[in-house]
Symmetry: C2
Subunit: 341 residues, 2 copies
DNA sequence: TCGCAGGCGGAAAGCGCTTTCCACCCCCGC
DNA sequence: GCGGGGGTGGAAAGCGCTTTCCGCCTGCGA
């Protein structure tokens, strides 16, 4: 018979009371020793008896009970559109790193850009009394969602966002506009005049900003919508070239779609960059492995995630706006506009 | 002044008691209406008053309090080595999908293969009284970790793993061995005899199994260790070819390293597959976008994650082993062994 | 008309922890 | 030698919810 059977509660977990009893002290003393916030000290000898007993019993505090008693939990939420998208995975990783430094656990919610799910998850994060929530995407819009956010902050939680600036919400704002502009200037500098843009889901602030930056330089580019996925980018590129065969460059609003664009151009037998140039956005790891290596805009995604999490966890007043730079990374997928068209 | 200021508790959140009062019923009745497990019914009229009041006050139950009272929580944990690695991201996404169907929230812990962190996170998941935890990687080994797992199950949580079969633990076992074997047979069938293998971190069961499958066909291949990253694969490939210039094929034990291998070969001016073939493992989305498109072994990662989560959440006795198939996907990076060496 | 059963609302006892407040002990100073 | 004060342990009151048990009320049968 395992030694633990006499010390473990039948239901399973060890309670503080058991530790206290084993150490021969009161519940209060045990609590002070193990979780005391320094306000009150316990004599050396007793403290050691308690810690020893706790270790022997493999005691870990019941976090929900602690949350209840302290009325503050140790979890934070991260809302992402899709954790399998490397863009969000990188942001989440950065955020989780910082959370760990603060001894917090991270609840990740995959919303698939479904507004209903977004609200639902936010409500459930509120139910968990999550200390804070990071909105790692900019599709979170609309009145009902804003109400949910308000309810969250009103019940004492902090909210920060990446890329979408709401009133009173801390925001890390990647320079989407500037990135789009950099691409435009780069392409124009190479002599391109007929440029098509593969945009993302309508309504995404990210899309609007990247596009706005681009059109601040190149007016009236050919546009086609896709869904921020590789396949979407591929299909959109076919469509784009069918309708506008004279294009000499394509700007895909993210790297996933740029990969699709390159695939489509390969299928069409259009050499890149000799006949047509392609640029992306995000500088995902895949960008270097594409052929030709992708010219794109670098966002320090992990860093962005980390900074957003820091905004959530310090105790400064909210409403701050932290800019994150976008940097053009020129690789082999862009070249001088071909003169023969 | 916002209308809510009179109804909201100053501290923030709305409590059930407030809802009950607003509806003019007792706490018990409100609880039965809103969270009743069907065991007991409340008259229609009262129920409606309660739900209305709850909606108006934007009430959401205090999850920690609920966990405490019911002594079961609504969170599950997923332990991954690195969520930014597409392999784990895909598994996590599949798992999270199933969790959502069960109305559970997912706590994701990034361990970076640090044994200390793995144990620590597992203890904290136990502290949260997570209903279950999915070990989405096979590096979780060693006595201390096994003890932590035991403590977790003893305190009433379920544990499932991907790829590492432990006693009493539900496991989804991707056919790593078979996949390695498929690659070997494929390469041998193409006439390759001098094959190098870029392996992963020592001690990973995944690595051992893929390699074992491979060496069951090809004995004594040249080996070099890397760390499952693209850069590691690149460096390892350089090393491999320095020491074994006559290799006609390279098997990288995952796609990330295969991407690095292709980069290295490009740097060396060795055409793939004309002069040397390359195969990977996992069939990450990037595989199709590499040049040449990568021959690899497909694992249905999202499905694997989903199945593992289902194992965790049904109430069957543990210790099951669910195999997941591995399938060879032949693309352009492998070809007949060059006769000139 | 009275009795009883069935149905349904409410009081209250926890769930495991924190934290306030009280009581005790010891030591010091006068 | 006695009173008081500082320090430290313990009792107990919650935190917000679930759930058992109790008791009331209604309606039906005799």
């Amino acid at each position: 018979m395992p030694r633990t059977s006499s010390t473990r509660a039948p239901g399973g977990a060890v309670t503080l009371q058991q530790v206290a009893t084993a150490a021969g002290v009161s519940l209060a003393t045990a609590s002070r020793v193990l979780h005391g916030s320094g306000g009150r000290r316990v004599a050396e000898a007793l403290a050691e008896r308690v810690t020893t007993a706790a270790a022997e019993l493999r005691y870990v505090a019941h976090a929900p009970a602690q949350s209840l008693a302290r009325s503050r939990s140790t979890v934070v939420g991260v809302l992402v559109h899709d954790i399998a998208d490397p863009y969000f995975a990188a942001i989440a990783a950065g955020a989780m790193d910082v959370a760990r430094e603060h001894d917090l656990m991270v609840l990740v919610a995959n919303t698939f850009r479904d507004p209903g799910l977004e609200r639902d998850y936010l409500a459930r994060l509120r139910a968990q009394r999550a200390r804070a929530v990071l909105l790692a995407g900019s599709a979170f819009v609309g009145e009902p969602f804003a109400e949910e956010v308000a309810a969250f902050t009103e019940s004492g939680g902090r909210v920060a966002a990446i890329g979408a600036h709401g009133a009173g919400i801390d925001t890390v704002e990647p320079d989407q506009y500037g990135g789009g502009r950099l691409v435009a200037e780069h392409l124009v500098g190479l002599g391109h005049r007929e440029i098509g843009v593969v945009t993302g889901p309508a309504g995404l602030a990210t899309v609007a900003q990247r596009l706005a930056g681009f059109t601040s330089v190149v007016t009236g580019p050919a546009l086609v919508h896709a869904d921020f996925t590789r396949e979407g980018g591929r299909a959109a590129t076919h469509e784009l070239l069918r309708d506008h065969p004279g294009l000499t460059a394509i700007f895909a609003l993210n790297d996933l779609m740029a990969a699709g664009a390159l695939a489509a151009l390969r299928e069409l037998g259009r050499p890149v960059p000799e006949q047509i140039s392609v640029a992306g956005f995000d500088d995902l790891p895949v960008a270097t492995d594409l052929t030709p290596a992708l010219t794109t805009v670098r966002l320090e995604l992990a860093d962005i995630g980390a900074r957003a999490m820091r905004l959530l966890l310090d105790d400064e007043p909210g409403g701050r706006l932290v800019p994150a730079p976008a940097e053009l990374v020129v690789r082999d997928s862009t070249g001088r506009a071909s003169t023969l068209h």
